[in-house]
C-alpha cells in the first residue's frame, strides 16, 4: 500500500543541521516528481533551542497545507521526541537516537517551563520515568508507533572509519542520518537523494561522506522496515519545479519586475529577502542586465525614506520589513502618500504585538498597515496567499505603485516567507511592466508641474529630468506649500481620486477570489496563508459531504466591496466563517467597514504556528454545529 501524501517532521537544535536535512529531502522529493511544502519553526535564538521542519509531500498535487498527525518524526535529539511525540499517528514511524534513551526531559534546559509542566503531567499519567527510552516504549506499546532506533554515534563512527570524516566534524553528519532514514522509510530512490545531496554539497569532500552516511542509513532502514511509507508514483506531471521560500520568491519577482533600489534594515522574517537580493544584485547574462542597489540602512526610518528618495530619482524602489520596523516607517509612508511616490513596502508579518514572537507567524498587521500614518492618503494594500501569488503580487506591487503613484504595501506572512514550496515555473510571458504616466526629459522644457491638477494622476518626471519640488506640507501643483483652503479641497480630491481610479481599473476578480462550487453550503473567508489550509480543509470536508467554499481576499485597499458583497449575499449569514491568524478577526473588521456585513463566526489562530488543514476542518465543523468562535492552538 502506498501513500498519496506524507506528512513528516524533522527536529533538532537550532544550528544543528536541521535545515540541511530538510533542504536535501525537499530537493530529492521534488526531483522524484513529488510536490513538497515545508514549514520551518524556530525560536528567536541562534543556537541550541528546538527547531523543526514540518513537511508534506504529495504524489497527486502541489501541496499547499500541512496536516497532523504525521507519518514520520525524525529526531536529531531527545528534545524533539519530547516535543513532538503527540503528533505521531498510530502506525507512524519515529526515528531517534538510541544513544539518547537515557535522557530525561527535566534535565534538558532548552525545553521551556510550560512544556515541561505539560510533560510532567503526561508522564505522570502514563506512568513513565521521564526518560526518552520509557517514552519510546510507551509510544510503541500504546500508540502503535514504530520506533526506528539508530545509534547515531555508532553510525557516525562507522562513517569515520569508512569515509574518514574527522571525529570533530562527526556531529555535522547527523543531518545525513535523518536524510537516510526518511529515504529508507519512504523508499525514495538513490537518484533523487544523491541529487539533493549534490545540490547541498557541490564539493566532493562534503558530498561523499554525506552520501555515504545517508546511503548506509537508508539501506539499513529499508532492509529492516521495507519502505513502509512509500508514496505512490507522482501524477503531478510537471517537467520542472521552482522550489523556494516565500522570501526568495519575492526577491526573484522583484528582480523580474525591474527593482533597482532596495533599502532595508535587518529584521526577521523580512531580511532573507534582502539577502537574496544582495546575492543577485548584479546580474549580467547575455541579453539581460540588472543591477540593484541593496542598502542596509541604520534603521527603518532611514530605510523607508531612502527608498522614497530613490523612487523620486526614478528607480523602481522598495523596502522590506516586518512589524517593529514597519512601525518606524509609518511617518515616511505618509510622506510618500502625500507626495504621490511610487514605493513598495514588502511587509512580512510576524507574531505581535511589540517584539512579540519574532520568528513565528501571524496575520495581525492588517489594520495597522491599512491605516498607518496620520491623515488621509491613498495606498494600495495587497496580501499574498501562496508562493505563486507572492510572485505575481511582488511584480504587480511595483506596477501599481508607479501606475497610481502611491505607496503599495505588500503583505506576506511569516508562514509564507519561511515555507518552502514547490510551484510551477512562472510564466514570464504573461507578465507586464507598467511604469505609469511618465513625461521624462520632455518635462524639463517648460515649467514642470509635478502635481498638475488637470488629472488625478499627474505625469511624472524624475529628479534630474526637470526642476520640481516636493514637500510633506500641503502643496500646490508645483509642489510648493500652500495653506489655501480651496486649493486644499482640490488637491485632497486629486489624491484620493486616484484610489477610485485604481478601484475602477483593477478587476475585483484580481482582488478577491472565490474557490468552490457555485452553490455551497457555507463559506470560509480568509486571506494570506490561510488559503492553503482553507482549500485543503474544504477538500477534506467535502469528502465528508460538507460542501463549502472559500473567499480569498487579496487586496484590502481599494477593497473589492462589490464582489465580496455579492458573494456574501449568496450565503446564510450564519454559514459565513471568518478564518484568520489573529485574535481580533481583522479582515472581518475591514469587511464590515467596507460592506456593512458583520461576520459572526470565526476560526482564529494566534499561537504563531500555521493552521493545519485537519484542525481547521474540525473547527469548521464545530462552527457549523453552533460554535461562534474557535481558537486553534495545535503545533509545537
Amino acid at each position: 500500500m502506498t501513500l498519496r501524501a506524507l506528512d513528516f517532521i524533522l527536529g533538532g537544535p537550532q544550528g544543528g543541521g536541521l535545515e540541511t536535512s530538510s533542504q536535501i529531502l525537499t530537493w530529492a522529493f521534488a526531483r522524484a516528481g513529488y510536490g513538497v511544502i515545508s514549514d520551518r519553526e524556530y525560536f528567536s535564538n541562534i543556537r541550541g533551542r528546538h527547531s523543526y521542519v514540518h513537511a508534506e509531500v504529495s504524489a497527486t498535487g502541489l501541496p499547499r497545507a500541512l496536516r497532523y498527525p504525521i507519518h514520520l518524526l525524525g529526531a536529531m535529539d531527545a528534545e524533539t521526541v519530547f516535543t513532538h511525540f503527540g503528533d505521531l499517528a498510530p502506525g507512524s514511524y519515529l526515528v531517534y537516537d538510541t544513544g539518547e534513551e537515557g535522557k530525561v526531559y527535566e534535565s534538558i534546559p532548552s525545553i521551556e517551563p510550560e512544556l515541561k509542566a505539560r510533560l510532567r503531567a503526561a508522564f505522570r499519567e502514563a506512568g513513565l520515568d521521564g526518560t526518552l527510552g520509557s517514552l519510546v516504549k510507551y509510544l510503541s506499546a500504546s500508540r502503535r508507533v514504530v520506533p526506528v532506533g539508530l545509534h547515531y554515534a555508532s553510525v557516525l563512527s562507522e562513517a569515520q572509519k569508512e569515509v574518514g570524516i574527522a571525529a570533530s566534524q562527526a556531529s555535522r553528519y547527523v543531518s545525513a542520518i535523518l536524510v537516510g532514514a526518511v529515504a529508507g522509510l519512504t523508499g525514495l530512490g538513490d537518484g533523487p537523494v544523491s541529487y539533493g545531496l549534490s545540490r547541498r554539497f557541490p564539493k566532493k569532500e562534503l558530498y561523499e561522506p554525506n552520501r555515504y552516511v545517508a546511503g548506509a542509513v537508508a539501506s539499513y532502514v529499508k532492509s529492516k522496515f521495507g519502505a513502509p511509507l512509500a508514496l505512490e508514483a507522482s501524477s503531478i506531471g510537471q517537467r520542472e519545479l521552482l522550489v523556494a521560500s516565500g522570501n526568495d520568491v519575492s526577491a526573484m519577482a522583484k528582480i523580474v519586475g525591474g527593482l533597482r533600489f532596495q533599502s532595508y534594515y535587518p529584521i526577521t522574517p523580512a531580511a532573507d529577502e534582502s539577502f537574496t537580493l544582495e546575492e543577485y544584485e548584479s546580474l549580467h547574462l547575455d541579453g539581460f542586465d540588472s543591477e540593484v542597489v541593496v542598502l542596509q540602512t541604520e534603521d527603518e526610518l532611514a530605510a523607508i525614506n531612502a527608498a522614497v528618495g530613490a523612487a523620486l530619482a526614478g528607480a523602481r524602489s522598495a523596502t522590506a520589513t516586518s512589524g517593529p520596523g514597519f512601525d518606524l516607517m509609518v511617518e515616511g509612508l505618509g510622506w510618500a502618500g502625500m507626495n504621490e511616490v511610487p514605493v513598495v513596502v514588502t511587509y512580512y508579518q510576524r507574531g505581535g504585538p511589540s517584539t512579540g514572537q519574532p520568528t513565528r507567524g501571524a496575520q495581525s498587521d492588517l489594520l495597522s498597515s491599512v491605516f498607518a500614518s496620520h491623515g488621509e492618503y491613498p495606498r494600495i494594500v495587497i496580501a499574498s496567499g501562496d508562493h505563486e501569488e507572492v510572485f505575481r503580487d511582488a511584480i504587480e506591487a511595483l506596477n501599481y505603485a508607479e501606475r497610481y503613484q502611491m505607496p503599495v504595501i505588500h503583505l506576506v506572512d511569516k508562514f509564507l516567507a519561511n515555507t518552502i514550496a514547490s510551484i510551477p515555473m512562472p510564466d514570464l510571458s504573461s507578465i507586464r511592466i507598467d511604469r505609469g504616466k511618465l513625461v521624462g526629459e520632455a518635462a524639463g522644457a517648460g515649467g514642470y508641474k509635478r502635481f498638475d491638477f488637470s488629472s488625478p494622476i499627474s505625469p511624472r518626471a524624475f529628479l534630474g529630468q526637470a526642476v520640481m519640488w516636493y514637500t510633506g506640507d500641503e502643496h500646490d501643483e508645483w509642489g510648493h506649500i500652500t495653506e489655501d483652503p480651496e486649493s486644499r479641497v482640490k488637491i485632497m480630491e486629486k489624491r484620493m481620486r486616484k484610489l477610485e481610479i485604481a478601484d475602477s481599473e483593477i478587476p475585483e476578480e484580481a482582488r478577491a477570489s472565490y474557490y468552490g462550487p457555485e452553490r455551497a453550503d457555507f463559506l470560509l473567508v480568509g486571506w494570506g496563508f490561510v488559503k492553503g489550509a482553507a482549500l485543503a480543509a474544504l477538500e477534506d470536508l467535502s469528502a465528508e459531504g460538507l460542501r463549502g467554499a472559500y473567499l480569498h481576499v487579496r487586496m484590502f485597499s481599494p477593497y473589492p466591496s462589490r464582489l465580496v458583497s455579492r458573494i456574501l449575499a449568496g450565503f446564510e449569514p450564519d454559514r459565513v466563517i471568518d478564518v484568520e491568524h489573529n485574535y481580533t478577526a481583522q479582515a472581518a473588521s475591514l469587511l464590515a467597514m467596507n460592506t456593512g456585513f458583520r461576520i459572526r463566526r470565526s476560526v482564529l489562530k494566534f499561537t504563531g504556528r500555521p493552521m493545519y488543514a485537519d484542525e481547521l476542518a474540525r473547527a469548521v465543523k464545530s462552527v457549523l454545529s453552533g460554535s461562534e468562535r474557535e481558537v486553534l492552538s495545535y503545533g509545537a
Binding site: 521534488a30 526531483r31 530512490g189 537518484g191 533523487p192 544523491s194 541529487y195 510537471q238 517537467r239 519545479l241 521552482l242 522550489v243 523580474v256 525591474g258 533597482r260 533600489f261 533599502s263 548584479s282 546580474l283 541579453g287 539581460f288 542586465d289 540588472s290 543591477e291 542597489v293 540602512t297 541604520e298 534603521d299 526610518l301 532611514a302 530605510a303 525614506n305 531612502a306 528618495g309 530613490a310 523612487a311 523620486l312 530619482a313 526614478g314 528607480a315 523602481r316 524602489s317 511617518e331 510622506w335 514547490s422 514570464l428 511592466i433 511604469r435 524639463g444 524624475f462 529628479l463 534630474g464 526637470a466 520640481m468 519640488w469 516636493y470 514637500t471 510633506g472 509642489g479 506649500i481
Partner: protein, 316 residues
C-alpha cells in the same frame, strides 16, 4: 542657460516668509551665489531639507527641492543620491533636525561618506516651533522663549561630524556670505560627505547668539594659518584629532572655515561601483526595467539566474 548664470537665476518666485533679518537669508544668498559660480544645472541639483524654518529653503531656490520630514533629510538624500549619483545633492537642515531627531542619520552619513553636502542652520533654537532649545544651545543659557535656562549640554557639531567620519568639515557664519559661499562651493566640490555648521542668528528667538555676538568673535581659520587638509592618508587620524580639539574653541574667538578635509576616503558611490560594475555609467534611476512593457528577463535568463531554485524532474 547659455550665459553664465547669476545668483538671482537660482531664486524661485515663492515669497520668502522668514522673519525679517533672519540669518537664513544669508545662507540662501550664499547658496544662490555658490550655485551660480558652480554653474549648477538646476535640474541636476537637488536641495533636500528637513522641517523647520530652515526646511523651507528649497522653495526659495529654483533648483529641484525635496522638503522632507523632520530629521529625515539625510535618508531621503541618501536614496536620491544612490539612485542617481549624477545628481548634486545638498541637504539643508536645522540644528534640531540634524543633531536632535536626526542625529542617528547624521552619524550614519559620516560613516558612509556619500558625496552629499550637509548645510546646518545652527541657530541654537527650534525656530519653527517657537524657540525651544536645540541641541546646540549651551547649558544654562536662557534664550527668549525658554521658561528656564537650558538643562542640556550642547553637542559640538564640528566635533560630532569629525567623530562620525565626515571627510569635509567646516563652519560658516550666515552674515559672512562670501566666505560661506566659498565653503559651500568647496563642500560641493569635495567628493564625499561634507558638513558645514553655519552659525545662523535667529532674530526672533535667540537673543544670546546674535549678529552682534558673532560679529565680535568670528575669525577665519584659513587666515590664522590652519591647514585642514589630510595630505597623507596615514596622517588622517592625527589631523582629525587636532580638528576635533579645535572644534571646541569657542568664547572670545570663534573659528570659521574648513576644519578638516580628507580626500583619500573613497565615496560610498565608488564603493558601490566596486560591486556593481555598471553603477556609475547607468545608475539605478536610469537603468531600463522593461522592454515595451515586457520584463527584460525572459524564461531563459530566469532559468540561468535562478537555477539554484529550479528542480528538473528526473531520475538522478
Amino acid at each position: 542657460m547659455a550665459r553664465r548664470p547669476s545668483p538671482s537665476d537660482y531664486r524661485s518666485d515663492v515669497w520668502n516668509d522668514w522673519c525679517p533679518g533672519c540669518g537664513n537669508f544669508g545662507i540662501v544668498a550664499a547658496m544662490y551665489q555658490a550655485l551660480a559660480e558652480l554653474n549648477a544645472d538646476p535640474k541636476a541639483t537637488v536641495v533636500v531639507s528637513g522641517i523647520g524654518c530652515s526646511g523651507k529653503i528649497p522653495h526659495f531656490l529654483s533648483v529641484s527641492g525635496v522638503h522632507t520630514l523632520h530629521g529625515r533629510a539625510i535618508p531621503f538624500a541618501t536614496g536620491i543620491k544612490l539612485a542617481n549619483p549624477g545628481l548634486n545633492v545638498i541637504v539643508n537642515g536645522g540644528d534640531g533636525d540634524l543633531l536632535g531627531i536626526g542625529a542617528g542619520h547624521f552619524v550614519a552619513l559620516g560613516r558612509r561618506n556619500i558625496d552629499i553636502t550637509v548645510i546646518m542652520h545652527d541657530n541654537q533654537v527650534y525656530g519653527l516651533t517657537k524657540g525651544q532649545a536645540s541641541p546646540t544651545l549651551p547649558r544654562g543659557i536662557r534664550t527668549k522663549a525658554l521658561p528656564m535656562p537650558n538643562l542640556q549640554d550642547p553637542v559640538n557639531p564640528v566635533a560630532l561630524a569629525i567623530a562620525s567620519g565626515y571627510t569635509f568639515v567646516a563652519r560658516g557664519y550666515s552674515s559672512r556670505v562670501k566666505h560661506l559661499k566659498d565653503l559651500i562651493k568647496a563642500a560641493v566640490e569635495h567628493r564625499g560627505a561634507a558638513f558645514i555648521d553655519v552659525l545662523q542668528p535667529c532674530v526672533t528667538y535667540n537673543d544670546v547668539f546674535t549678529y552682534d555676538y558673532y560679529d565680535k568673535r568670528v575669525y577665519a581659520l584659513e587666515e590664522s594659518g590652519w591647514d585642514p587638509d589630510v595630505r597623507d592618508e596615514s596622517d588622517a587620524a592625527r589631523k582629525a584629532a587636532e580638528a576635533y580639539a579645535k572644534a571646541f574653541e569657542w568664547g572670545d574667538r570663534i573659528p570659521i572655515g574648513v576644519f578638516y578635509r580628507n580626500a583619500h576616503v573613497p565615496s560610498f558611490e565608488d564603493r558601490i561601483a566596486g560591486r556593481l560594475p555598471g553603477y556609475l555609467k547607468v545608475p539605478p534611476a536610469a537603468e531600463p526595467v522593461d522592454s515595451g512593457g515586457a520584463p527584460l528577463m525572459d524564461a531563459d535568463a530566469f532559468r540561468k539566474a535562478f537555477s539554484k531554485y529550479i528542480v528538473e524532474i528526473g531520475e538522478g
